[in-house]
Amino acid sequence: MFNDKEASKIVDIIKNFARKHSLWVVAYGTGCGAIELPPTMTSRYDAERFGIRGSATPRQADVLLITGYLSVKTLKRVIRTYEQMQEPKYVIGFGSCTINGGMYWDSYNTIKALDRYLPVDVYINGCMPRPEAVISGFIKLQQLISEGKADGAKRYRENLEWYRENQRKVIKNWRMPEYNW
């Protein structure tokens, strides 16, 4: 028979396999990138064959897909949405805008580096990334999950103060409910 360690290892493998193959994406269309999702989901590229599915609410979702630029106003909602998701949860930054501001690099109201505000697990480069790129991003995330490296939620929890400080810097009137574990 197994000892405890081996048993928990096997349980972990099963859990990670299930998590990896069942990614429910909360459809928060923040920017123009949202338009790339319909072709990703429908018959041409069919992301569902990897177990990727849209979910209607953050409570049910695993992946927060930031599709494009984030204005400060949207960032507030996205942070809220992220905090309402249940662990384990992953963030995918989608498009150059989330990486370095993209074409909004000099905008007065758009944040330029998403990973300062939310723990990003995978970035998908491009303006716009094609559906192939999106799927490759998801597959990268699946790899990270199966290796146990997709620990964004853990990072967020451990460095909450740093994230909060950055968030508060851009969101001036901070009226967010506290994130309690």
Partner: protein, 302 residues
Amino acid sequence: MEINWSAVLGIVFTPVIAFLVGVTYGGLTRRITARIQNRFGPPFYQNILDIIKLYSKESNINHGVMQHLGPVFAITASVTTLFFIPVIKDSPVFTNFSFNGDLIFLLYIMVFGSLGMALGAGQTGNPNSAIGVSRGLSQLVGYEVPFVMALVAIMVQFQTTSLNDLLAVQDHFTKWIIFQSPFAFLAAILAFLGMMGYAPFDVVIAPAEIASGPPSEFGGKYLGLMLTSRSIFTFAKLVLFTDIFLGGAHDFITLIIKTFILYMIPVLTGIVFPRFRTEQSIRFFWSWPLFFGILAILVVVF
């Protein structure tokens, strides 16, 4: 005290089998939908992965004790329904408690779960949940009426309210109730479409409008339990319909074939149809299905 081991076996294995069959059917539905939409589709075991993933979520939230218990109500209803239906005809293992209940009991225990879920969804305080519940209950009133008419017609025709008696009547395939009382079958199968909640009657959980409706605040283990319950309930309903109309089954292969054929009716309807508004679906249930129901009763009476 003497323990009836075959009964214990049945009690333990019936829910497990029901879950596995139901969840596989769910996965196959997604696959079939995908193929019809010219997609490849997820593997057939996708729903199992989803449920395992939901159970393995590390954090869970609830808005209070009613939301905590909502999925419990749902699974209680599913499993109880299953226990009071003879899954395999004349089998000592899979008869379970079917001699202690009858059709009217089944009618009521089937709504027990929806009501419990509705209470759970109500406590979340999410307006989308409440809208979904309002739609769901309204639709329930719609499809229960033709369904009851069909059942009344059958009960009157065979002078029994017991499912086992109905099974005993259908000892040869020419005596299946689908042939003996076709109008009742029509009324019931149209009501069945509403009961399964696929399109065009999926306004309750319309994901794009009301964020999946009643379960919109449920995540993690709660959603997992709900999906488990839904899988079991799907199978229970299919077995119930098979027992009533298609003469039940003596072995699992027959059961799988019959239930799968029945299951394809709402699934295939669902793929090709858009969505009804609530009042449209109620009016639909109170038009043709009601007509068939009245016809079924009239045929029996005269």
